[in-house]
């Protein structure tokens, strides 16, 4: 009798274990993983080119306001992006140019800054990518397109951001993905359109995010979702840079040699 009872209990436990395993496996199979979400996001939002004019407002911790303006041109997307930015305002930085060209594999992109006063470009070393990008709260790494292939990613759960349910994904730079300024990035991906709404950026040794990028005013332009407002907050310094995107256009043909060092060095060019 006791033996039968014990056998019955063991069978019940086994059945429960199998049922639970099947249940969890089912949940796991039904839920997307972080990588596939990011791949799907990249597929949905990939464009051949993008260009816009940016109005920048930099507010420091004392509330002092600085205005800047740039024109941005991009060809390719994420891991194969080439990007040219040319400052248009204020007079002090007018004509300053920035060129970023993705390198094959997972290496850091090549980056150069053109300073009109020097009449030549300067190369940006990978280790210098934490420097402020021309007096803004963006650094040189922030100016790169996010490429999830360079990160180990994991889905952390869900959270509502600005009224939109979001996937919360942790991205940790891979060793082979080139040097990164950040130790960890938490991405908030809007669930319905898989569009990035927020990034919490952790520099090395930081327990709380040192910087936060918030993307808002999302509109559909030329059939593509785009955030017309970017806010990069340096939570440690207490400063904030806001970029308002104007004259946005996608998939327009770009000049053949726009993303070259020759063009970067063209005074008055874009």
């Amino acid at each position: 009798m006791n033996k039968n009872r014990l056998a019955g209990r063991a069978l019940l436990r086994l059945t429960l274990a199998v049922l639970l395993a099947a249940l969890f496996a089912g949940i796991a199979l039904a839920s997307p993983d972080a990588r596939s979400l990011l791949k799907e996001s990249e597929n949905r939002h990939r464009t051949r080119t993008q260009q816009y004019a940016g109005d920048l407002t930099v507010v420091n911790k004392d509330g002092k306001v600085r205005k800047k303006g740039w024109k941005s041109f991009r060809e390719g997307y994420a891991g194969d992006a080439r990007n040219l930015i040319r400052f248009t305002d204020p007079p002090e930085v007018k004509g300053v140019g920035f060129l970023s060209i993705a390198r094959p594999g997972l290496q850091n992109p090549d980056q150069w800054l053109y300073l009109p006063s020097m009449k030549r470009e300067r190369r940006i070393a990978a280790q210098d990518r934490d420097a402020s990008f021309v007096g803004t709260d963006f650094n040189y790494e922030d100016m790169e397109e996010f490429d999830h292939e360079k990160y180990k990613v994991a889905l952390q759960g869900e959270q509502t951001v600005e009224g939109h349910p979001c996937h919360v994904i942790t991205a940790i730079p891979l060793e082979k993905g080139g040097k990164s300024v950040y130790e960890k990035i938490i991405l908030y991906l809007r669930k319905d359109i898989l569009y990035l709404l927020r990034e919490d950026l952790y520099r090395k040794g930081e327990r709380e995010p040192g910087k936060r990028l918030v993307l808002s005013d999302i509109q559909n332009v030329d059939g593509h979702w785009v955030a017309r407002k970017w806010e990069m907050c340096d939570l440690k310094k207490g400063s904030k840079t806001t970029v308002l995107l104007k004259e946005i256009a996608f998939d327009r043909p770009q000049a053949a040699n726009r993303f070259t060092l020759q063009n970067l060095n063209r005074e008055g060019g874009d």
Binding site: K61, D130, R266
Partner: protein
């Protein structure tokens, strides 16, 4: 210069105030220098320097047009008289001068032609670059490191990782020297009694300038380059005409003439990212048959590292061949061998920089420091100091009476 063109230029300079038209930029700046010493009774204790600069940039189809004009008012003898000096060939600065007047257009999708008056920037080594050093500079302010634009034609292009550039400069624009015998150019000529006045003879530089070519390649972390040039060297050689010295009641007056040597030069440059440093190196050979210039083998090595928003740049430069004359008289080679350390940093409120140049031959040097504060996006105030020190016969130590403080207020548009 006739009155009509002067009025036109003044009108051009004043254009931005009412118009603020797109494509027009510029600045107005007032700067003051205060000196602790005087090298002679003619040196003022304070100098004022007012500048009005306007630049106009326009695109016409695929062509880029740029013009800029500078008007200046300097209280010292560095200011020349009103004159039509479109190539900066006069020995003193004209109160009004054209800084840019050029057009650039593509002759093919990857090849540009630029013609007119513009400034060149060659060389990879920021502290001292032999590729850059020959380009004409204005030493009216000996600490300003101001390049003079050239009248030239430039063909530039890119084919994959290779960039190339050819420049023909049909008119010589020479280095502009400070008033000889002043605190900015205290000539120490052997056996010349104190109080001697140097009378600078306005010898026009040769008409024909120079031609140069340059090829650059970027391969992964490497940047490689090679260049060559032939023609007139823009830095003058000074001839002290003791045979024509005149004795006056106030002392001896010695005419000083200028002449210009022909020189051929070739160089290589390379740059590489090594860890967190960018290391650059240049080597150049210069050949001249001139007895006072001679040949030169100049090398420069620099290392640059970023620290957040700051950059440290260290440069070591030297000439392997001793010049036949006092190196101070060769201008671009005067400070060699030299060690240069520069530290600059951008702050939320502006920026600052400190530069130390040490002459390794005489132990003299120059300490420079400057702080710029952005009052608003268009108003900026700058204060700083230049402190040459050391052996008084060294090229930098000789400037010890030019130790100064400066302050400037700039409005940009």
């Amino acid at each position: 210069m006739t009155r009509f063109p002067v009025r036109l230029i003044i009108l051009f300079l004043l254009l931005p105030f009412p118009a603020m038209a797109q494509g027009i930029s510029g600045y107005a700046e007032g700067k003051g220098f205060v000196y602790g010493e005087r090298s002679n009774s003619r040196d003022p204790s304070a100098v004022g320097w007012g500048t009005l600069f306007t630049k106009w940039e326009e695109k016409a189809g695929e062509a880029q047009l740029t013009a800029s004009v500078r008007a200046e008012w300097i209280t010292s003898d560095e200011q020349g008289s009103f004159s039509l000096d479109p190539a900066d060939r006069r020995i003193r600065r004209s109160p009004i001068s054209v800084r840019d007047l050029w057009v650039r257009f593509p002759v093919s999708p990857s090849v540009d032609l630029q013609a007119g008056r513009f400034q060149l920037g060659w060389g990879k080594t920021d502290g001292y670059s032999p590729a850059d050093a020959f380009l004409p500079r204005d030493l009216s302010d000996p600490f300003a490191d101001e390049k003079i634009p050239l009248w030239a034609i430039r063909l530039s292009g890119q084919d994959g990782a290779i960039r190339y550039e050819a420049v023909a400069c049909p008119v010589t624009t020479s280095w502009r020297l400070p008033v000889l015998g002043s605190r900015n150019a205290p000539l120490s000529v052997e056996e010349v009694p104190a109080g001697t006045v140097f009378r600078e003879v306005e010898d026009p530089p040769p008409v024909i300038g120079f031609a140069a070519m340059r090829v650059l390649a970027t391969v992964n972390e490497w940047d490689l380059g090679a260049w060559g040039r032939v023609g007139v060297r823009p830095a003058p050689l000074l001839d002290f005409r003791f045979d024509r010295a005149v004795s006056t009641p106030s002392g001896l007056t010695i005419p000083v003439e200028r002449r210009y040597a022909h020189e051929e030069g070739a160089g290589v440059e390379l740059s590489r990212i090594i860890g967190s440093w960018i290391v650059r190196g240049e080597a150049a050979a210069f050949f001249s048959r001139d007895r006072d210039l001679g040949d030169a083998l100049i090398g420069a090595l620099s290392a640059e590292k970023g620290f957040g928003d700051g950059t440290l740049l260290i440069t070591l430069a030297g000439n392997a061949i001793d010049p036949p004359v006092d190196e101070s008289l060769l201008f671009d080679r005067a400070i060699l061998p030299a060690f240069i350390a520069a530290w600059n940093r951008t702050e939320e409120w502006g920026e600052w920089k400190v530069v130390w140049t040490a002459g390794l031959r005489h132990g003299d040097g120059l300490l420079k420091g400057e702080v710029g504060y952005n009052i608003t996006d268009v108003w900026k105030i700058t204060v700083g100091s230049e402190l040459p020190y050391g052996y008084e016969k060294g090229p930098l130590g000789a400037l010890h009476t030019a130790q100064r403080l400066h302050a400037a207020l700039r409005l940009s548009w």
